[in-house]
Amino acid sequence: MSVSAEISSLIEPILQRHAWRPDRLVQILREVQEAVDFISDETAAHLAEALKIPYAQVHSTRDFYAFFYRENRGRYRVLFSDNITDRMAGNQALFEHMAKRLKLERGKVSDDGLVSIDYCSCTGMCDQGPAILVNNRAITRMTLRRVDEICDLIRGQVPLDKWPAEFFRVDDNIRRADMLLGTPHEPGKAVRAAIARGRDGMLAEMKLSNLRGRGGAGFTTAVKWEACRNAPATPRYIVCNADEGEPGTFKDRVLLQSYAGRVFEGMVIAAWTVGASHGFLYLRGEYLYLLQPLEAYLAGMRAAGLLGRDIGGVAGFDFDIEIHLGAGAYICGEETALIESLEGKAGRPRVRPPFPVTSGYMGKPTVVNNVETLCKVTEIAINGGAWYEAIGTKQSTGTKILSVAGDCARPGLYEYAFGVRIAQVLEDCGAQEAIAVQVSGASGVCLSEREFGRRIAFEDVPTAGSFMIFGKQRDLFEVARNFAHFFAHESCGFCTPCRVGTVLMKEIMDKIAEGRGTQYEMNELLRLQQVLKPGSHCGLGQTAGNAVADTVQKFRPAYERRLAETDFVPAFDLDAALSRARELAGRDDAAAHLGEEA
């Protein structure tokens, strides 16, 4: 089994660039696919031999990530973002239109091997959707006309970098700026301030600030940093979590696009405080378009003495940042799965404890922080912890950026001091007739109108930032069904309850959608939730049934009006199950059919 000389010559420079390091496998696979379109078994075997790792390890890693292909998916690989907000903006009609124009079936490559189309999980463009990815490059604001233009470009085999730049425009849509989004960034100011405070001093300010993580779990950042700093092993690592896979969240994308200095300086300050020498930015594959500008920004920081050796003129303060890309796996946002991915493996969450702060990347002490958390660090370095602590609520200090999307006049980013009421956000973004808000993404909580008086804060409604609004014309059953599909697609498969439970839940939601559900299925959904939530290994499985359970409770009629009148309906169409035999026997008599009822 061997690859052609041509493929081998394309792969060689990639391997060389990564110094044949097996822990770079995910990055190598990504670049190999970019070069040769897919990773065949032959290519995988070639890589295993070159990297001196088991074949099975390459297969295992390749087959885990949604954006790696074992078979040819064409030179143009089109993926339609399929978050509920894309749905609401009409992505399905656009998909059908493209499928028809290109004579394609979902997930199948065209006969000439040129193009394939499929759906993918939320791409983080919810305020400017429907969005698609072409070879992982994001295209926003899709319309029928844009579909036609893209079909022509593909048929004409125009290289992607010759496509109109307008297609790839990604807007910030900052609608409400507060202390983070509204304060101009002065490069180096925060790093110098932190250095001036000293390592202990900076940690003390962090403690005073009571900053809590913005990635979802809300863990106190100072506690995390101190644990890492006290861990005896070295080197230590700082990881910025820019996986932003939670459906409906896109604030980290804007921070990286327009506030990269703050993100990276936050990492430098973290490194200063805990004594780390190396940093990673784990950037979701969907944000590939940010890679070059971010690399350029890092180069600028190195030139300015904000990265590299003796940062800020402090002898021995050495720290640099490397960017790793993900490849279509929501679970890689979970910090231990992320670390596995950084090490070149499939992103399956580790057993905790030990926590990353003592045993993270390569078994060394590692801080993992969200993009927004690290931005907040720069504010604390400059203004001090006491100043910071005065903003927001008691247990939720500072401001929080919300990614607002769905049924409203002005989708985009809204920054508020913690404690803002849901109703206030709805008013500000022009959502007149909201019946529900899904806060914190598919894994979050579905709030109905009577709960709009509640506040965004860890002590009331915690959030990683997603804020999806549903107007009165929307069907909350379909919202929950979209999320059920999302989780079944994104479960890593490690633990039984989530691997099987998310699929069973999805199937039951589909059964209800087809009018085959009964009260029995409603009970089954809750029964599954009772196993998923307490029994799953990580946050994905533990939250996967939340949206379904919330909507069953709060929007029950949306389910009930789909239920069949009998007490039991099979999950499949019995008559259709006879169709193959009918065709083979050439029969169409009465006995060759089955009605729905006895």
């Binding site: 029995y520 007490d567 039991f568 099979p570 999950a571 499949f572 019995l574 199950a577 006879l578 169709s579 193959r580 035999a581 009918r582 083979l584 026997a585 050439g586 029969r587 008599d589 009465a590 006995a591 060759a592 059919h593 089955l594 009822e597 006895a598």
Partner: protein, 184 residues
């Protein structure tokens, strides 16, 4: 056995869908206890009685075998419609059993393997309306109708069946545990 709570005889209907009649044989294996049972139950439609269709409403339906073809569906529906309690009786009724080993094959593959001349060449698949058409897969009973109890085993042993029936007859929720609970 304790005195039954219900003086009326329990009316039972049984069938074998895509089964091997092994579960029925095992039922008969309860031997002399059959006499004791006969005092308490009577049989309606069943291979044991040769009654072709349920003649009246039954208390209990024992369904052996998975659901493999259109006829199985009709029979199963008849039993479900005529019985208060329906039991998936034996391994095949519970999960499709050995017949379900064809489930990863296309029906066409199966049929073209079966309909061959003695020299091995393929013949036409018959279109006789008397022959029940195959479903795309073999389904467990509970995927086609609602099932009240499951009695696994290939076949369930006579003791298992006896325990199940006596539990039912005496008004206890049937409970099958070690060493009566077996999947083979």
């Amino acid at each position: 056995m304790n005195a039954p709570m219900n003086p009326r005889k329990l009316r039972i209907t049984t069938t074998s869908l895509s089964g091997c009649f092994g579960c029925h044989m095992s039922f008969l294996d309860i031997d002399e206890r059959l006499l004791e049972l006969a005092a308490l139950v009577e049989f309606d439609r069943s291979p044991i009685t040769d009654i072709k269709h349920c003649s009246q409403h039954c208390d209990l339906a024992l369904v052996e075998g998975g659901v493999c073809n259109a006829e199985n569906v009709h029979v199963l529906r008849e039993l479900r419609a005529n019985a208060k309690i329906l039991v998936a009786f034996g391994a095949c009724a519970v999960n499709g059993g050995l017949p379900a080993q064809r489930n990863h094959l296309d029906v066409g593959q199966c049929l073209s393997q079966v309909y061959r001349t003695p020299d091995g060449s393929a013949t036409a698949i018959p279109d006789d309306p008397e022959l029940p058409l195959l479903l795309d897969k073999v389904y467990p009973v509970n995927e086609v109708v609602r099932v009240d109890y499951f009695l696994p085993g290939c076949p369930p042993s006579a003791d298992t069946i006896w325990k199940f029936l006596t539990d039912l007859l005496t008004g206890r929720t049937p409970r099958i545990e070690h060493p009566l609970l077996k999947f083979d």
